[in-house]
């Protein structure tokens, strides 16, 4: 178990986490690529400039600095470990110099810029990276880390855009998670960060608690989800058990919900089967319809969104889902801090 004591983000809708998940703040996707082979594909860039969207380090620095400031931490005195979740890392460096070695040193550069003195690691389980990152952060905290800065980041990338196009996974009309008209996802860029602590300092703002993270693998296909959602269902059950929550406790659902036909159908069916109507009509936040699909950063945005809702009393317990190429699934349960829960809630 860990407490969220700071959050930060930067995305197509800017840096204000309070509007994450709200309706009406979305930007329409538009073609934003110079290259004729991908300039017919959609991308949600919104408030991000082209230079910002391409700069993975810059995006991550903005989100992390916001989160550290929000937590009131000073990395020269507070020892902070860094866990980075990203699908592709610093793609601009690779795409700008095809002869150079593949740079996967983004986390190291980020830690150095921020002055983080704890261990630094990067998890790259495609679009589920950040929720795998929270499981790793929990381990570090249990093993004695004081603070862990968890950051999910994904930059705009020609090679990623082409790859999603080649899979016919993009919808030129927009990203419509869980809607009948959905035809695919729309990629985006951004970064979201959370400061986690096992024992927050007295007086610290605690948004909520990360109670459990369950990681499962489909072992089924490299890019397509297993149609029955067996591993996803197992992950949900394991996360609920790990969190000490019942299904009835969950009152906020932030599924992966990419807008692709198969992924959404599996998730929608599972949520309905496991949690009933309130999971499909009630407290459901579908972030990719607002900020696009930020791939490896997407579940960090989900956790930031849940943290705000928990802090503001809009929910008591949130279930966050993530799935990815490779068959990687994650289920994360976050709750309001025990002292903030109403009587009778667990």
């Amino acid at each position: 178990m860990s407490c969220v004591v700071g959050i930060g983000m930067i995305s197509a809708i800017g840096e204000d986490a309070r509007i994450l998940g709200s309706r009406g703040a979305a930007f329409a996707p538009h073609s934003a690529f110079d290259n004729p082979l991908i300039n017919d594909t959609p991308f949600v860039q919104g408030a991000l400039t082209e230079a910002q969207a391409r700069d993975a380090l810059g995006l991550a620095l903005t989100a992390c600095r916001n989160a550290l400031a929000d937590a009131g931490l000073d990395t020269t005195t507070d020892k902070v470990a860094l866990v980075l979740g990203t699908g592709a890392g610093d793609t601009a460096a690779l795409e700008n110099d095809l002869a150079a070695p593949r740079p996967f040193d983004l986390a190291q550069r980020l830690a150095d810029e921020l002055g983080c003195r704890g261990v630094v690691l990067t998890v790259a389980t495609a679009c589920s990276s950040s929720s795998y990152g929270v499981a790793l952060a929990q381990d570090l905290l249990e093993q004695g880390a004081e603070y862990v800065l968890l950051c999910g980041v994904e930059a705009k990338s020609d090679s990623s855009q082409y790859t999603f196009k080649s899979l016919m996974a993009l919808d030129p009309n927009g990203c419509f998670p869980f809607q009948e008209k959905r035809r695919g996802t729309v990629l985006s860029a951004g970064a979201a960060a959370l400061v986690l602590s096992a024992a927050p300092a007295a007086g610290a703002t605690v948004y909520g608690e990360v109670k459990a993270a369950s990681l499962t693998c489909d072992g089924y296909h490299d890019t397509a989800p297993e149609p029955e959602g067996l591993a996803v269902r197992r992950g949900i059950h394991e996360a609920l058990i790990g969190a000490g929550c019942s299904k009835a406790d969950i009152d906020l659902f932030i599924p992966h919900a990419t807008g692709t036909r198969l992924n959404d159908a599996i998730e929608q069916r599972l949520l309905g089967t496991e949690f009933g109507e309130r999971a499909t009509n009630g407290q459901l936040r579908l972030l990719k319809g607002q900020i696009g699909h930020t791939c490896g950063a997407s579940s960090a945005f989900s956790m930031v969104c849940a943290a705000v809702a928990l802090r503001d009393g809009h929910a008591n317990a949130a279930l966050i889902g993530a799935s990815a190429f490779g068959g990687n699934n994650a289920s994360v349960v976050m709750t309001r801090r025990a002292a903030a829960l109403p009587e009778g809630a667990s």
Binding site: A124, T125, S166, L215, T216, C217, T223, G326
Partner: protein, 305 residues
């Protein structure tokens, strides 16, 4: 101490280092050393990226050790697994459309591709993850395996590293370990060693005083594995010459693996070779990012009292 695990087998598929529980072979090897059909048969790997083929080939050599269930995990390190595919995409959209990879090759764009392919092929349903970084991603995988075993999340797992750096040296390939809970029965041959993961920390850049202190406070025989720098080599020689506070200390430089495996795989490979050669005692490993890993290895068959 995070956990003690049992190392059952090591599988190497690298130029000049192939086989199970084998050491690098001397002798001439060619740049086109890797023949996927030798490992994976004649069909089914046409659209796979080289890192995926290496990982599958290494896993296949120890497939009898992979339980393939919800209690089985997979932790794979890499700093290059998606590079070849992404470069080909960029060449295709900028220079020559005829080289653009199609949808069947798309998993090659994910650094998670090799882990995902091994998980799919061997029905690994537990936690499967790719940890990226510089020269210590395989060691971070070892930490995560120890953490997962320590809390009972997995009972057995594969860990390792796969790299495809592309270049004249052709030092790429895959190196995998089969690990399980200490004392558990295993298929196949006798286990190689117990491996205890104690801790890892990050030292400030160039902070050799902290490293020297760590070496001196570590009980018993100490092996340090690191990339040699003039300052580090001088420190190691000073410790070995020190007659006032003598300790049983050995420094293993990654230099000895130049040309055998990719630079980013050398720390994990040197640890592996130390174990295969029967090393016993505490091993400290210093990575270029300043991470200092502390392990104890105890070959099977030695007195466990």
């Amino acid at each position: 101490m995070i956990a003690t695990m049992q190392l059952d087998a090591v599988s190497a598929v690298c130029r000049g280092w192939e086989g199970v529980n084998a050491c690098p072979q001397d002798g001439a090897t060619t740049d086109d050393w890797f023949d996927a059909t030798r490992y994976l048969g004649k069909r089914g790997h046409r659209f796979l990226s080289r890192p995926v083929k290496y990982a599958l080939a290494a896993a296949r050599q120890i497939s009898d050790r992979i339980a393939g269930d919800a209690g089985c995990g997979l932790y794979l390190g890499t700093s290059s697994a998606d590079a070849e595919h992404r470069r080909q995409v960029m060449r295709g959209i900028r220079l020559d459309q005829s080289v653009l990879p199609g949808a069947a090759s798309a998993p090659g764009a994910s650094a998670n591709g090799p882990a995902g392919a091994v998980a799919r092929h061997y029905k690994v349903y537990g936690p499967v993850m790719t940890l990226t970084g510089g020269d210590d991603s395989g060691l971070v995988c070892l930490w995560q395996a120890a953490s997962a075993m320590g809390r009972g999340e997995v009972s057995d797992c594969l860990i390792g590293q796969v790299e495809a750096v592309t270049g004249a040296a052709q030092e790429d390939g895959a190196l995998l370990w089969s690990l399980r809970t200490q004392g558990a029965a295993q298929a196949g041959g006798a286990p190689l060693s117990d491996v205890t993961f104690h801790a890892w920390q990050r030292l400030a850049p160039g902070d050799l005083d902290a490293l020297r202190e760590k070496i001196h406070e570590t009980p018993g025989r100490v092996i340090l594995i690191a990339r040699a720098t003039p300052a580090l080599t001088a420190m190691a020689e000073a410790i070995q010459r020190d007659v006032k506070t003598p300790i049983d200390f050995e420094f293993l430089s990654t230099d000895r693996l130049s040309g055998v495996v990719a630079p980013d795989m050398q720390l994990f490979s040197l640890l592996t070779l130390s174990i295969l050669n029967g090393s016993e005692g505490r091993i400290l490993i210093l990575s270029q990012s300043g991470h200092l890993f502390s392990l104890t290895v105890k070959p099977k068959g030695t007195d466990n009292a």
